[in-house]
Symmetry: C2
Subunit: 109 residues, 2 copies
């Protein structure tokens, strides 16, 4: 018998972080504020999906959107404290990947 039950907070955290692109967007933003077009280029995410994810992340308080009314307009996305608080998780994933992920074809996907 196994009485282990999933912690609802953990489950929720995973449901947020494991949405496609979310973790990469946050990781990307740890290097500093970024523009929309930069993110689509560097991540390879479609504009449509990036729009959706950034809106969700803004609503959840991970990201802020700043408008600079220059010409052409510059809009920058950056991490809030809550967004930054994910850094230790990113670091662990980085650490793990450098030890366990091979880049040759045997493990490719």
């Amino acid at each position: 018998m196994n009485n282990f039950e999933l912690c609802p907070r953990f489950e929720k955290a995973v449901s947020i972080l494991s949405q496609r692109w979310t973790a990469l967007i946050i990781y990307q933003l740890t290097s500093g504020p970024q523009r929309f077009c930069t993110m689509t280029e560097k991540l390879g995410v479609s504009g449509k999906t990036l729009t959706e994810r950034l809106k969700e992340l803004e609503q959840r308080g991970f990201v802020v959107r700043d408008v600079y009314p220059e010409t052409p307009v510059r809009i920058e996305y950056s991490l809030t404290d809550k967004g930054m608080s994910l850094t230790p998780i990113m670091k662990e994933i980085e650490k793990w990947s450098s030890k366990w992920i091979a880049l040759d074809s045997t493990d490719a996907k």
Copy 2:
């Protein structure tokens, strides 16, 4: 200018871990070997998707499948060393979620 580039190992790790259900399946297995039906019940994942994920995880070397030819047959899935090596990441997510995830409606999804 921003010259930050995504680390390909990190990207790959994230692409594995952020596939829907994968992190929860691994987390669930950290509590010990589990059967197919137990996992569908506890996680709420469909049988079809669980089959797919377990096959992927087996191929990638995170999980092993053991058959006990009892009656009715018992099949148990458990983590390999590689699967277990993800524990520190899970712990970080757990730690983060206990601090930053609220369970009330304001943060609901």
